[in-house]
Symmetry: C2
Subunit: 372 residues, 2 copies
């Protein structure tokens, strides 16, 4: 057996989610509660009926690759050759890490609180990581200076999730520019930025940065999962300079051959629809003001919600987020994700999703506040 | 960049396939030409309309896992816990190798001629391989004695594709029993058998072996790609003892989260349909007699077709299969896959698929015979 495997713990998020009962107040969800637009599924079904479901090229259907590249239009990455279509952004992350990093030599910087897949994939691949903990006193805002200060001679990449799962914070244009400038000044072999922007269509600030706009050595990861309520479709992509995509496509080919042709048709219809990728964005924007009000009502300390569909609330000093989450599930029938799932430095926090009805969130917050 | 990548050559099969013109005699296809049954796609579309497309559990929908396990009913592997649903059999292969093999220590035996993904995935993972070349004088029949003779102290697994892409040969029950007995007698840490049976529904002999029936340390790989003309759906699975599946599911989760929920619904409908997985098997059985007759007509030496939808023909001594395939594409407008894509020992052969119209195969064979 691969000796790295038994030492990597199973998902804490799934452990907590498994405690869900039919009548639970479920604030643990990591996926939209909206239904996907039927039109995209119908278009794909029609196409499958006409053409069957054959393999596409490894990197994906050329028309879809071109549509994705054109939509984001990152400098130097606006052609189809800059896109590899993947099995959700999860496979895009895996392929990006695997293609970019040499386990013998390279180090990956992970910002904490971090989506657990990053350290786990790095451990699976035997890649060294360095953790930069963002500061609670800054409400875990992205801090370019702290990130740059952590870059060492072995650093080859920095993975940044913005809008951030779990914190809901967004990297701003000024911080992105500071980061890009510092990395460009550094010279030598470039440090790559891996920008996970899977919550891009849930952004509630005006100055959100897209790293590929300001830094050429950027790999952007995204999918239709959160934007279009299609988590189950497993359709994502990475956007990067063409020479990187050429190598990444080999890794992708040996892992998956190609992404699902039906799913690619759905995505093609989304990108062919005006504002298709943003069709649910208004719902989240409308909802967030209400969520902020309900959070304020609760009396709990909460992080500013710049993006995503999560809200994070502070437990009392000394509380264990795991013990609290387990007790809330067992004693108060509330499912909430313990901060420890995202790193030690987030152990005083809970991540709550607000995709369910607003009254569910209100009731969940009431139970959490009365418990803690 | 991961230093293993630039040294792994791109796909030779795709290089030849790229020479296809609209009027080519295309014998290069690696996928069925039949259309998939519409009923399974309709069932999945209906379910998606009702329920949306949410994540399933990492290892797949429990009902589907149970249906797959029950259908094959391998000893000790007939429950849902023995199945991990994957992104086609390609990801099942990747996950099986990655879960099972320790690159620091283990060696994988690959039988040649071999599906190119096996050595490529092994190289990507840094796993040592040992090649056992099956013998041309035996028409590349599976030879348990030769395989057992190659097992060394570092050997941890043997990957066997039966029905075999490219040769079309099938591992028979007697050879499988010899292999299983020898490995069981060996004692110590078990050598695993990885049985790629993706062409199982294209089997034309009565004594085909399923290794999991006779050997407990078997991982079976399969998909609906070839059986149901759904290559583009990317829906496969691995069947193995539950403790292996538990570890494999972690790898699968970090690579892909889960397989496409729509695709899982299609597969669920296939397994819920009587003989659904075998619904195209009759077409291939009916066709193969005709194919054998056309091959005999051609005057070329051909391998017996025990299974798959391929036929392999011998070039003259000293011919290079790559040069021949390139020349056939450029000078005779015939697309055929050069044997060298499957290993040095298959360099005097071409792989031809016979999923197209029989007259296309006849004309292709005529052009190949007149060229060589």
């Amino acid at each position: 057996m691969n000796p790295r495997l038994p030492n990597i713990p199973p998902s804490l998020i799934r452990r907590i989610a498994a405690k869900r009962k039919p009548d639970s107040i479920d604030l643990g969800l990591g996926e939209p509660s909206l239904m996907p637009a039927q039109s995209h599924l119908d278009a794909a079904a029609f196409r499958a009926k006409e053409r069957g479901l054959h393999y596409t090229a490894n990197a994906g259907d050329l028309e879809l690759r071109a549509a994705i590249a054109q939509h984001y239009a990152y400098p130097g990455m606006s052609g189809a050759q800059s896109v590899c279509v993947t099995v959700g952004s999860q496979e895009a992350t895996y392929v990006a890490f695997k293609t970019l990093l040499d386990p013998q030599r390279d180090e990956l910087i992970i910002l904490e609180p971090a989506f657990p897949a990053y350290p786990k994939i790095a451990r699976l691949e035997g890649v060294a990581t360095r953790t930069v903990a963002l500061r609670e006193e800054d409400d875990f805002a992205f801090d370019a200076e702290r990130i740059v200060a952590a870059v060492g001679p072995q650093t080859r990449a920095i993975v940044i999730c913005s809008p951030c799962n779990p914190t809901g914070r967004v990297l701003r244009v000024d911080q992105a520019q500071l980061l890009a400038d510092a990395l460009l000044r550094r010279g030598g072999e470039p440090v790559w930025l891996i920008h996970d922007e899977v919550y891009r269509e849930q952004t509630f600030v005006d100055d959100a940065a897209h790293l590929a706009d300001v830094y050429p050595h950027t790999i952007s990861l995204n999918s239709v999962s959160k934007s279009n309520a299609l988590t189950g479709l497993r359709l994502g992509w990475l956007i990067a300079p063409p020479p990187f995509v050429e190598q990444a496509t080999k890794v992708h080919a040996w892992i998956a051959s190609c992404a699902d042709t039906f799913a690619q048709s759905v995505a093609l219809d989304i990108f062919a629809t005006r504002d298709g990728i943003a069709e649910h964005a208004g719902w989240y924007r409308d909802r967030v003001a209400e969520v902020r009000a309900v959070l304020a009502e609760s009396g709990l300390r909460a992080l500013p919600i710049d993006g995503t569909f999560y809200a994070c609330v502070r437990l009392r000093d000394g509380a264990s987020s795991l013990d609290t989450a387990l007790a809330l599930a067992d004693e108060r029938n509330v499912i909430a994700i313990p901060g420890i799932a995202f790193g030690e430095s987030f152990d005083r926090w809970l991540r709550l999703s607000w995709v369910a009805d607003i009254d569910i969130l209100r009731e969940g917050l009431r139970r959490i506040a009365s418990w803690t």
